[in-house]
């Protein structure tokens, strides 16, 4: 594998792996907080059991999130030393702030997880708040850095030297609000559907009890609030790209030449030669004037095409368009599922809809929402190519000179495979543990201040 490709492959694999745990690390604490809150308010042992069992799963997920995040953090330097040299100078402090957000999360998560029987119930519940906040803050910080890579501001670059560095203006670069909001919502969407899908699965296998119904309600409750907001925010993102990242929009939508009355292509394959600037769109459903209408509410809105950019600055539209349509398609599908579920739920006077097809739909929505996250990142990252910091540094200039990157890529890929397989085995094992006897005295926190939970007790309360 060529040097640059190996580096990109390793970076992409690592991020694609890490993002799954990040999403769960941001979303699960909110679910825990809500479940424990309801449990305390109603003194309901079923809700409390949900919180308890999920906190055990979260321990494993968090640990893998931390180690995979560490890989990513090191790789930014190890694989792209020139990139980190620029990034550090201009927007580096954000990474340091993110470090504090990680501290906050890790500290209170440790207290939350290991403190079930050491803290009074109310204090234990309070500990979930800093975790939720820390997760949201770390998302904001890191995605802001990525936004800056897309639309870098806060410096002047002349004759190979950086001057006039202004970190604050780099932080508030134009992409920041759009990207951070969209990503944060994605965490709650994906996490909500992910949890719901698990319970849909066990209900499909005939385990239809209160515990699983509550779990499903919890997941879909979060999802139904976050998903419409997510789609609305995505719509803002796309329109914003037209003005600030036109090359990305052109690649996303397969616009080869600048023009008005640009159609919206759904699906299909934009085959395009970045060198000659010639291309054809195969098998797409074209909605006349669609894109112009979406961007400017007017069929005469002009959309910049890839021909506006020098051949060496053009991204390849094929993977970007497919990824974008995959994200949007999944987005509407999961919205439909969540909407249908709650519609039936309220139409039937809060009677739980348990139709097989609906449960199958929820089961599918879980993986699809995680897929949307991955695809959305493909759009963002591939759409920025060939730049790593748009207009300032090319990916090919940023890469390290270190040899043997092929082996490094293989090693890390092997590590990811082993980690993923082991972790899934572990979570499945925990999930299969029988439910404990759900009595308030047995599951509520802080009952027995003096004694630690014994190993057997721990086993029983598993996930």
């Amino acid at each position: 594998m060529p040097h640059l490709l190996a580096a990109r492959a390793q970076m992409g694999t690592s991020l694609a792996f890490h993002i799954i745990f990040s999403v769960l690390g941001v979303g699960l604490p909110l679910l825990l907080c809500i479940a424990e809150g309801i449990a305390l308010k109603r003194k309901d042992p079923v809700w409390m059991t949900l919180a308890r069992r999920w906190s055990k799963a979260a321990a494993i997920i968090f640990a893998i999130g931390a180690v995979s995040g560490t890989i990513v953090e090191f790789e930014l330097g190890l694989l792209w030393p020139t990139y980190i040299n620029y990034t550090g100078q201009i927007i580096g402090p954000l990474f340091a702030f993110e470090g504090f957000a990680f501290f906050l999360e890790a500290i209170f998560f440790a207290i939350y997880l290991y403190g079930w029987n050491r803290l009074k119930p109310f204090y234990h519940w309070l500990c979930s708040f800093p975790i939720v906040l820390g997760g949201a803050a770390s998302t904001w910080f890191i995605v802001t850095t990525n936004a800056w890579m897309n639309t870098p501001t806060g410096f002047i670059f002349t004759n190979g030297k950086l001057t006039g560095i202004d970190t604050v203006s780099a932080i508030f670069n134009p992409s920041t609000p759009y990207e951070t909001v969209h990503m944060l919502l994605a965490c709650y969407v994906a996490c909500g559907f992910g949890v719901a899908a698990l319970y849909a699965f066990s209900m499909l296998r005939g385990k239809r009890d209160t515990y699983r119904r509550y779990g499903l309600l919890l997941g879909l409750g979060m999802a139904v609030i976050a998903t419409p907001l997510q789609i609305a925010s995505g719509d803002f993102n796309a329109r914003y790209l037209a003005s600030k990242q036109p090359a990305k929009l052109a690649a996303m939508e397969g616009v080869f030449t600048t023009g008005t009355n640009v159609p919206l292509h759904i699906g299909g394959f934009p085959i395009y030669d970045t060198q000659t600037g010639k291309g054809t769109f195969y098998y797409a459903i074209a909605i006349p004037d669609g894109l112009s209408l979406m961007v400017g509410y007017d069929p005469n809105t002009q959309i910049k095409g890839l021909n506006e950019f020098a051949p060496q600055d053009r991204p390849n539209p094929l993977p970007i368009h497919l990824a974008f349509d995959g994200m949007v398609g999944s987005g509407f599908f999961i919205l439909g599922i969540a909407g249908l579920f709650w519609l039936l739920y309220f139409l039937r006077k809060r009677h739980f809809p348990e139709h097989r097809l609906l449960l199958l739909g929820i089961l599918l929505a879980g993986p699809l929402s995680f897929l949307s996250v991955e695809l959305g990142w493909m759009v963002t990252e591939e759409g920025r190519q060939p730049w790593v910091i748009y207009g300032l540094l090319r990916t090919s200039q940023a890469v390290t000179t270190a040899p043997f990157l092929n082996y490094s890529f293989l090693t890390f890929s092997a590590i990811y495979i082993v980690l993923a397989v082991t972790m899934i085995m572990l979570l499945l094992r925990q999930g299969r543990k029988p439910l404990p006897e759900m009595k308030w005295e047995a599951v509520s926190s802080g009952n027995d201040e003096s004694a630690d939970v014994s190993a057997e007790q721990e086993e029983q309360v598993g996930v």
């Binding site: 893998i64 980190i84 390290t400 000179t401 094992r429």
Partner: protein, 348 residues
């Protein structure tokens, strides 16, 4: 007296973060190193003691490493870019070690009882790799061999970080981690009223401490030849710190011998802090001797100011939280500062 410049404030904060990582993260690695020796009738209890000690805190301790990395590249991007380029291999190995250590620990404590032996091995093996390569990498910096600067510098294949001096410091890091872990575990075992384990770890602490002292002396002697800049710097302004390091080390051993485990723990923390402090002070004014100074490597003043403000706000939130964590899991109901734990048994 002139106020220290911004870059010196930043590097001092980072040095304290380094000390925090060396002490807390180092002890966690040390516990993993002792896993290799776990055997005999108390094997199960030793595993359990280590699991209990690390469980609630290792992730937080690990964040110090993350903080160090990001602090270094925002405060001193040029130095960071050079280090990751030149030390690509030792850092990649240390990274792999960190990753395997964390995952192996969580896998073996969360239920994979059947395959736990494999993960136990990975846990101890990776606990050896990381401190060794981090130590060797640090020694490569200190020895003044990194003369080509910038992100496009070639990765070094070993001539810089596998010298006798670097190997000594790599093994010294292991020995120090093992000493700290043993001492921390004497306190944990005393808290859990497990006298037999206290005695095991007291003995290990004393032996590992002696090894650390010997390696420290060897390293110091080697520095005179292999790390001339560092040696000169030490003679110029770090002699008192080096002497203090030695005295504190002896104190820790005495406290450990007589069973004052909490005092021994405080002293070994101080010992590590002074050891790293002596290194830092000897290096002044260089961040990567013998060419790159702290001032020359620093990012722009506005970036540094923002960084310092952010760190100050962050620490106000984080330090009390860390204290709370340690209070809940390490102090509440534990042994008193001046109380004496179990002693006895043969040392050698």
């Amino acid at each position: 007296m002139a106020l220290p410049s911004l870059p010196y404030i930043v590097i001092t904060v980072l040095w304290f973060a380094l000390i925090a990582y060396a002490v807390f993260g180092g002890a966690d690695f040390g516990a993993g190193i002792w896993e290799i020796l776990v055997s005999g009738p108390t094997a199960k209890e030793q595993h359990a003691l280590i699991d209990d000690a690390l469980g609630p805190v290792w992730e937080v301790n690990h964040v110090w490493l993350v903080f160090l990395v990001v602090g270094l590249f925002s405060g001193f991007p040029g130095a960071f870019a050079t280090l990751v380029a030149v030390l690509f291999f030792p850092l990649t190995l240390a990274l792999i070690g960190t990753v395997l250590r964390g995952s192996a620990f969580i896998f073996r404590t969360h239920g994979l009882r059947k395959s736990a032996t494999i993960w136990n091995r990975i846990f101890s093996f990776s606990s050896v790799i990381t401190p060794f390569f981090l130590g060797a990498g640090a020694a490569a910096v200190a020895s003044g061999g990194i003369q080509d600067l910038g992100p496009k510098t070639q990765a070094n294949l070993g001539s810089l970080w596998l010298t006798p001096f670097c190997l000594t410091i790599g093994v010294l890091s292991l020995a120090l981690c093992a000493t700290m872990a043993a001492i921390f575990l004497t306190v944990e075992a005393t808290n859990q009223k497990k006298a037999d384990l206290v005695i095991i770890f007291r003995r290990r602490g004393l032996i590992a401490g002696a090894v650390t002292a010997v390696l420290g002396a060897v390293g110091l002697a080697e520095a005179a030849f292999q790390a001339p800049t560092l040696w000169q710097g030490m003679l110029a302004h770090a002699v008192p710190l080096v002497i203090a390091t030695m005295v504190i080390g002896v104190g820790a051993a005495v406290a450990l011998y007589f069973g004052y485990y909490r005092i021994a723990r405080a002293l070994i923390i101080a010992e590590t802090a002074f050891m790293l402090g002596s290194w830092g002070v000897s290096q002044i004014p260089y961040i990567i001797p013998p060419k790159l100074t702290v001032d020359a490597a620093a990012s722009s003043p506005s970036t540094q100011l923002l960084l310092i403000i952010g760190i100050a706000i962050g620490m106000i939130i984080i330090l009390p939280s860390i204290l709370l964590l340690f209070y809940i899991f390490k102090y509440k109901g534990g042994m008193g500062l001046l109380s004496k734990g179990a002693t006895g048994g043969t040392i050698l």
